[in-house]
């Protein structure tokens, strides 16, 4: 981008002390784009495999239930719940609420706790049913 070097820039990311609000903000972008690429491609692969037939579906299941497959699925599920709770936080902020420093910090931390708890519950349920 064209910028005159003689003009000052406002202080940006480098000078701020990291806080929960900054973490939840960048994680919203990271999880969103992770879901948009790996998540969406995985979804289409699953649907296409199911539409193609038993053999294609077996290949999908074989990859998805490999150790790397589980790692990706657990990661994507956490990304999904993090993006979900962070997105709900955005809806509240869109209404102009939740900007008080204490509230903002509390709900930022809450999105991480809630997403980790939900991901944990979902996979406990899945592995509990498989046993």
């Amino acid at each position: 981008m064209a910028r005159s070097n003689s003009r000052p820039l406002s202080p940006h990311l480098t000078i701020w002390k990291w806080g929960p609000a900054m973490a939840v903000s960048i994680m919203h972008r990271v999880t969103g784009n992770g879901l948009a690429t790996a998540g969406a491609l995985g979804l289409i692969w699953w649907l296409m495999a199911a539409a193609t037939g038993p053999e294609a579906y077996a290949t999908f299941v074989k990859c998805a239930t490999s150790p790397i497959g589980y790692l990706v699925m657990i990661g994507l599920s956490w990304f999904f719940f993090q993006h979900l709770f962070s997105g709900l936080r955005h809806f509240v902020l869109d209404m102009g609420a939740g900007y008080e420093l204490k509230n903002n910090k509390m709900w930022s931390i809450a999105t991480f706790i809630l997403s980790l708890l939900t991901t944990g519950f979902v996979w406990l349920y899945i592995f509990g049913k498989a046993l």
Binding site: M1, R29, G32, N33, L35, A36, A40, L41, L43, I44, L47, M48, A50, A51, G53, P54, E55, Y57, A58, V61, F80, L84, G87, L88, H90, F91, D94, V122, Y125, I126
Partner: protein, 130 residues
Amino acid sequence: MGTGTGIGRVRGLGSAKHGAHHWLAQRYTAVGNLLLVLWLVFSLLSLPGLDYESVVSWIHNPLVAVPLMLMVVSIFMHLRVGMQVMLEDYVHDKGLAFFSMLVLNFYAFGGAAAGVFAIAKIAFIGVVKP
């Protein structure tokens, strides 16, 4: 009057009132995703199994196929506007920015079409015997 673009001032039109369109599209599809993906998660968790026959006979049901199609469309609309914002922030070269928008649009429309087609095929044909 007095605000908006130069040509708008000349014509005396002001804002076209479409400024919030992108932002709103992100929110509408976010609500769609919230409802539909949660529905998918709960449905998959309550299915008897995730083998070929269980999944295909589940999607074969019209009351599953239609919301699943809506989910795919909502997801790809949401990721299209979302990734656009990310690319606009990080891709500074003009030519590369144009190219990235091209690829993003191909990806979003291609992915949505593939997903909807796959669901439609399952909805119409159902379980394929090997």
